[in-house]
Subunit: 601 residues, 2 copies
Amino acid sequence: MAESMKGLHRSHRCTEVSNANIGDTVTVMGWVQKRRNLGSLIFVDLRDRSGLLQIIFDENDIGKDGFEKAGKLRSEFVVAIVGTVEKRSGAVNENLATGDIEIRATELRILSEALTPPFPIEEGSSTKEELRLKYRYLDLRRPDLQKNLILRSKAAVAFRSFLANEGFLEIETPILQKSTPEGARDYLVPSRVHPGNFYALPQSPQLFKQLLMCSGYDRYFQIAKCFRDEDLRADRQPEFTQVDMELSFVDIDDVIDVNERLLAYVFKETMGMDIQIPIQRMTYAEAMDRFGSDKPDTRFGMELKNVSDVVKGCGFSVFTGALENGGSVRGINAEGQGAMPRKKIDALVEFAKGFGAKGLAYLAINEDGTYKSSFAKFMTEEELAELVAAMDGKPGDLLLFAADRNKVVFDVLGNLRIEIARNLNLLSKDQFNFLWVTEFPLLEWSEEQNRFSAMHHPFTMPMDEDLALIDSDPGAVRAKAYDIVLNGTELGGGSVRIYQSDVQEKMFEVLGFTKEDAYDRFGFLLNAFKYGVPPHAGLAFGLDRLIMLMTKEDSIREVIAFPKVKDASCLMTDAPNVVDLKQLEELEIALALKEKATTEQ
Amino acid sequence: MAESMKGLHRSHRCTEVSNANIGDTVTVMGWVQKRRNLGSLIFVDLRDRSGLLQIIFDENDIGKDGFEKAGKLRSEFVVAIVGTVEKRSGAVNENLATGDIEIRATELRILSEALTPPFPIEEGSSTKEELRLKYRYLDLRRPDLQKNLILRSKAAVAFRSFLANEGFLEIETPILQKSTPEGARDYLVPSRVHPGNFYALPQSPQLFKQLLMCSGYDRYFQIAKCFRDEDLRADRQPEFTQVDMELSFVDIDDVIDVNERLLAYVFKETMGMDIQIPIQRMTYAEAMDRFGSDKPDTRFGMELKNVSDVVKGCGFSVFTGALENGGSVRGINAEGQGAMPRKKIDALVEFAKGFGAKGLAYLAINEDGTYKSSFAKFMTEEELAELVAAMDGKPGDLLLFAADRNKVVFDVLGNLRIEIARNLNLLSKDQFNFLWVTEFPLLEWSEEQNRFSAMHHPFTMPMDEDLALIDSDPGAVRAKAYDIVLNGTELGGGSVRIYQSDVQEKMFEVLGFTKEDAYDRFGFLLNAFKYGVPPHAGLAFGLDRLIMLMTKEDSIREVIAFPKVKDASCLMTDAPNVVDLKQLEELEIALALKEKATTEQ
């Protein structure tokens, strides 16, 4: 039975009623959070997105029928209530915004009845995520998710209003694009009008925003949906949202400046938080050297130390072997962890192996100055003392070493550092450490393809001072690329773009593109550049990740209204699904399903 | 040759320089609009998105090399110029914001050279649209398109800021959705992880926004991309943008109220224009009766008149035959058009036939009171006089009549009315006539499917007073649906939604859905409603069309940065295109192209 709200007009949201309204008649509407019968009275907590409000039903006020109806209320019923605001008769509830008042009901309408939800609609639910996602429409009623999505909406408003004020134009770029495979896998959309042809969903508006600069729009932004058909990790979604921008007639400092002020504005507006700007900058080389990562978490120390020189001539062949192969030996000092039980150390060794280490050398300094170590026996007292000194080791410390190619050493120690900090609860979500990482390598060597590939993308500008190296030592060329990092998470990144045709041609050459290849994929951009292109640069933020960090969540699924799970399906709607054969016929495509055995390989 | 902008920093956009800056040194950057050599001086009009600025090169200021370089400048070169602001030496150009000043250049850098563009970069180009779209990046440099996209960006800002202030939350809904075919054709996206399954791109966020109401978000909005794989008409695109909203605990008047204030705000903020609110409302029945259209253009009169009663017993069998078949006879009076040449009248008859008329009866009243008519001979003097009187015909007027089923009569006269007004230049783009059309029929009979289909969508609420008719006379039931019309164009529309499960079941029954069908498509929404659903209603604006009308353009392609053409292809990027076989293999689909002869049928 659903009553109509005819003749009623909501006067307040729940927490808009305050003790300034005492004596007023108000009309409130929302969901029944909870009903309690107390003697001859019925109490109901009414919920809407603003919060909770206590309603009191007394047969003397609402009459026999109304009181009986109130007795039938159950959780999640949707009701409209007319009543008088009064000072709360019982104990004041300090936890509620409306904790000192209540509404004495004079009219009740049940707008919608409700089944018992499969899990309680309350903060901090411990319900299994699968169940929450199947009933996402109920999960979204929980105050935590509401808070997250409200903050997300506020942040989007703040992003837009700041950028509009700075002269950025929001310009929409197409979702149905040309497929230009590079990097991740495209989602494809078969064309019905052009059978055999496909659109691709954009991985980012990159080419279009560069075109817009070429067309003189000067400053562009968009909060854009992007798509990547990748195997999903915890913090990835097949579709995600980017705050995307591009600026003309600028260099790195201009981009960094406007984005620092942007971040400061967004954090202030949405969280009331002050970000100290300018934000610290660190080169890629320094970030790798000190933190073993191009997105260092600077909330804690435990920095990497290069001890290659110290162990150069030592007797431990794992160390010297690595050096001989052109690698390095580096360590971190887990201060005060010298008494870590063997089992935990073993777990760290296993963890390190997951990042390609053949092993992990450790040395615990006992309180009495003696060592417990996996490799001490291979080294002299003197060598050990030197090594400990180089690591600033004190009694009670645990030193961990990796010896390998630099790439492996950085990867192992960078991740180990985070793992230990996590185990020791050093990672506070209340701390917000921003960092710019700059001077990324322009290229990275792809073992798989036996050629260089662009670290950022093929339109990234080399640093002026490194341009000369592009033929002789391409791997050493640094790019005008920058990432913004928050607490060890890459929030966004961008680069200054190539606008000189000779540099662009050289870049394609280094990447092993023939001219034909390049034009086949990016022809419209390369042609556009022939008609006058301004120097330009841009940046994009991952909005989902930023909101995740702002709301102190561990997964972006907690800040997306209708997320997909790891297999890219939606548990609520069962998308993707099977479609009518007729739809495929119209598109002139057919299924070509592989044998099950094959797919499972 | 591309010079670097190193060491320079743009101080002003072109039109940010004013006579308040006289004597200042400024750095400006942009595109060369035009170069003129005048005696020993060179003049350049520099262009950026803000407008034009005159630069003067004098060898005495810039030196020999600089002057030579200036002599090489050609249209669309990108340059950086340092110079001094001075009062214009020549005649003041009243048409330019910067018409009374010029920059005396002391430094010139050519940041990018440019080929001669295939068409001139100037306002009001007469270039063929195909060429403009192929070189869209150049077309987008033209001031008309820049003005349009700047206005669009401003309008989006205004929409968002108004809605955020009114308590609407912007919440993103998925682009990769479940396919629920109904209405237009879905674009499909094959799933790689679930071979044989497909996502669909949303035709609108309809189901998700209703879910959000069910989840207690109270007021939602989104500027959302929507997709329809339809055969394109002039004002359609495969992807288009909707300002989409939904509100809880409201009825029609609340939705209309907030949207009138929204429109007023957006027009004021972007065009400085005052819209008079409240906006006129008209029922669907009245709109059809008076204008033969559910989106009447009220910028001019020429209303339809029902003369069925007048011609009931006349001798003209086309009229009486239509009445006997349950149809009607209606006319419009093209005032002052009595002298229209026969050839033009014939063209109107052909036009009418295009809308299903078997013919068009006309009667021109000569200045001397005699008639020139296609049917006068079948009627008595008296009958004719009565008909003319009913049409308020005066000497010099042209009366046009359609006699057929009501649907045809409305369609013919409604369109004829617009056609005549267009021919007579009665349609001023400077006039903005808004109108709400309300009380739409809930259902329309589909001859093709031999069943009723939902005129709006299956979740639209019937009007309370018509609920009882749903079994006995479903075609007569009016809906709580409303459209907002501007100058004869439907800008947007929406409805109050069904929230009572019994009404919803009845609706599906009338539409011929089995319960299984309904759950198969909309199960997640119907299930959500079982857990407590608030009364809710919504509306969506077509942003592309709105901006088209605001900018007085004739096509939405003029207000979309990168539009597609009628066959849904992009002339600039050549999307859609052929993809690698490997991509299809990964998706486990294959092409199933029909014989060419078949596709061409």
